[in-house]
Amino acid sequence: MLQDILVTGLVSGSTYALLAIGFSLIFGVARIVNVAHTAFYMLAAYGLYALLVQGGLGVLLSGALAVVSVTLLSVICYRLVIEPVRQHEAAVLIATIALALIFQETVLRIFGGSYLGVPSAIDGVAHLFGVAIPKQRLLILIVAGAMLAGTWVLLYRTRFGLAVRATANDLEVANLMGMNVNRVAMATVGISVALAAVAGVSVAPVFVVDPFMWLAPLVTVLATVVLGGLGSIQGSVIGAMVIGYVEAVTVFALPQGAFLKGAVALSMMVIVLLVRPEGLFGVAFEEER
């Protein structure tokens, strides 16, 4: 049973991490709580479905087109909806909720409420420590690792990353130093949503695609980033793994309470917050900045 928990927790955790790093990045840099983050993930999953299943394009081309179009859409949304109210955090929150609901209802109108399936990019089962895991899930694990590494390189090894970190550290000083902070924020939104879109494209073949698929991950992502420390990418990854393992332990230890796995994970988050209000890596991140 231990190896089952280890492997399933790792796979679930990597899926959550893929979503959480983008959410955390945009909060850390632009202080935007983007509730529509998982709605973009849903749009990317639908994009993949439309291009791959309905359009008959190849997996890679469909995935790439879905990610690019959703990223462009996010930049347009940022310019039209978020940027005008960016100084008002509550307004940004409400604007992103509105965006998410608009996306949901639009998709419902176009595709209907039926549950849709996307074929796997790679079929078959791999055995990890004696545990059978579909290869598509292992692909998510690899994609999550690559995305995390890519984000780290972008933030810590490029001039753009330096600008992003400077803006995150002190927006006003960065502005005074001549940086175009609005452009940095817009680029960060684009990168953050691109990560969500990659997550959507990666998980679409293992999940069910439907207009409401953004709601459950949103709660998990919020729990993950709060648990890890708001704004900390490393914290988000650790938080995602903690949630993934707590869920796995819940299902294995309490089969009748499998439906409680989300609630147990959220309770875990509350307990951590009671002990460390800044989250597991909140302080570390502040120091880092």
């Binding site: 049973m1 089952d4 492997v7 399933t8 796979v11 679930s12 899926t15 299943v53 419902l108 209907g112 409420g113 039926s114 549950y115 849709l116 399936g117 996307v118 074929p119 796997s120 079929d123 089962v125 545990v131 059978a132 895991i133 579909p134 598509q136 899930r137 998980v203 073949p205 293992v206 999940f207 069910v208 439907d210 409401f212 698929m213 459950a216 991950p217 869920e247 796995a248 299902v251 294995f252 089969p255 009748q256 309470g257 499998a258 439906f259 796995k261 989300g262």
Partner: protein
């Protein structure tokens, strides 16, 4: 003079719809119209309306009245309050004479309250929770206007399930040469599954099956990797399912991806739909579920109905299309009673027996369909290479063989 003419014309125009409406029987069809369930509610009702109206309508005290349908989106999959508002709107604003439909038990329980407040006949075509019928027995005067046309109530669904499971277990014993097959119960955590889960835990050991555990994911779970890994680890030969949400697709797909040797049978509402195969990306092989319709002779009306439905809507009907039976039953009852008065119709409903498309329509004291072979049991189907193959009850003409992984 011109002003008087305009006023008179406006008055006539305003009165015209009311006058037209007086000649019709207005039936509100409530369902989640953006979803397959609501689509089937509406499709079944349209078929019944068109057939009845083409034949002249419903005879009420010797006068023929046509059926007028009102499509009401209950949005109940997303919101129970939306469902009660929809019922309120159907009765007060649309002024429906009768209401039919409903899908999600939690929503239908709330909708039932509204319909009973207004003393409207409510013919259920979607929710299985036993409490809907228990209400009738507990407080007859208030709830007597409720009748469940489809599906069976959850305990009766359980009875059919165990009958089918017994048949499958017999095949498992023969295939695996195992006297006591191991069964994992995988039921989503919602109210309609409670009675079924309890009955399964009580009955399966009596049927010489070992229950290796109960797993209860959320109906909207998108991942059951951990649950299936635990079921695999427990060595289950069969997975007994009670699933109505999208988790049914996830279970079907992930069982195939994991190449599990166990076969899944039970209630899997998503597997009843034509779209299941596509939703599982072609990985739903061997998933079996209770169902209502197939091209088999459960009643003399089933095959003609299924064929006509497929021809008109280019898909198979789901059990929500029993709105067809509900409207035809309503016609029979109104014509017998000679009135549309709800209180006078109730005793006629209670005494009426008629042949429906899915079974013999006859009601118990709780206004549920009478369960039994020759009455209403439902059928069982299994997905085999992209086709839904009916396999139970085996004595009915048109049934085929249940398959195991590796055989198909």
């Amino acid at each position: 003079m011109t002003r008087q003419l305009i006023i008179a014309a406006a008055g006539m125009l305003a009165a015209a719809p009311a006058a037209l409406a007086q000649g019709t029987i207005k039936i509100a069809v409530l369902g989640p119209m953006a979803f397959v369930q609501g689509e089937n509610h509406w499709a079944g009702a349209e078929m019944a309306r068109d057939e009845i109206n083409k034949a002249g309508g419903i005879s009420v005290g010797g006068k023929k009245r046509k059926i007028e349908l009102v499509r009401v989106d209950s949005n109940e999959i997303q919101s129970v309050p939306d469902a009660t508002n929809a019922m309120e709107r159907a009765i007060t604003r649309e002024k429906a004479d009768f209401v039919i439909g409903g899908f999600r038990s939690e929503a239908v329980l709330a909708m039932q309250e509204v319909a009973m407040d207004y003393k409207k006949i409510f013919l259920g075509c979607g929710a299985a929770d036993a409490k809907l019928g228990a209400n009738v027995e507990k407080n007859y005067e208030r709830y007597k206007y409720w009748f469940r046309v489809s599906p069976l109530n959850s305990p009766d669904l359980g009875r059919t399930l165990f009958a089918v499971l017994g048949t499958i277990a017999g095949q498992v014993r023969a295939e695996l040469k195992k006297e006591t097959p191991k069964v994992a119960i995988l039921a989503e955590k919602v109210i309609w599954t409670e009675a079924i889960v309890k009955a399964a835990q009580d009955n399966l050991p009596k049927m010489k099956m070992e229950v290796v555990g109960l797993w209860q994911p959320s109906p909207t779970a998108t991942d059951v990797t951990a649950e299936l890994a635990a079921i695999d680890r427990a060595g289950a030969d069969m997975v007994f399912t009670a699933l109505s949400g999208p988790v049914g697709i996830v279970v079907g797909r992930q069982m195939a991806e994991r190449k599990m040797h166990a076969v899944a049978f039970g209630i899997n509402v998503e597997a009843q739909k034509d779209g299941f195969w596509e939703a599982t990306a072609g990985k739903g092989n061997y998933v079996a579920t209770l169902d209502t319709y197939a091209e088999v002779e459960m009643t003399p009306l089933m095959i003609p109905f299924v064929r006509a439905f497929k021809e008109r809507f280019h898909k198979s009907p789901t059990y929500n299309a029993a709105t067809y039976d509900a409207i035809n039953l309503l016609k029979t009852v109104i014509e017998k009673a000679g009135t549309t008065d709800a209180a006078k119709l109730v005793p006629v409903f209670e005494q009426t027996q008629s042949v429906g498309t899915g079974g013999q329509l006859e009601f118990t004291k709780s206004h549920d369909p009478v369960w039994g072979v020759g009455k209403t049991t439902g059928i069982a189907v299994q997905w085999q290479n992209g086709r839904k193959v009916p396999f139970w009850p085996p004595q009915v003409k048109g049934m085929q063989k249940f398959g195991f992984p590796g055989q198909i």
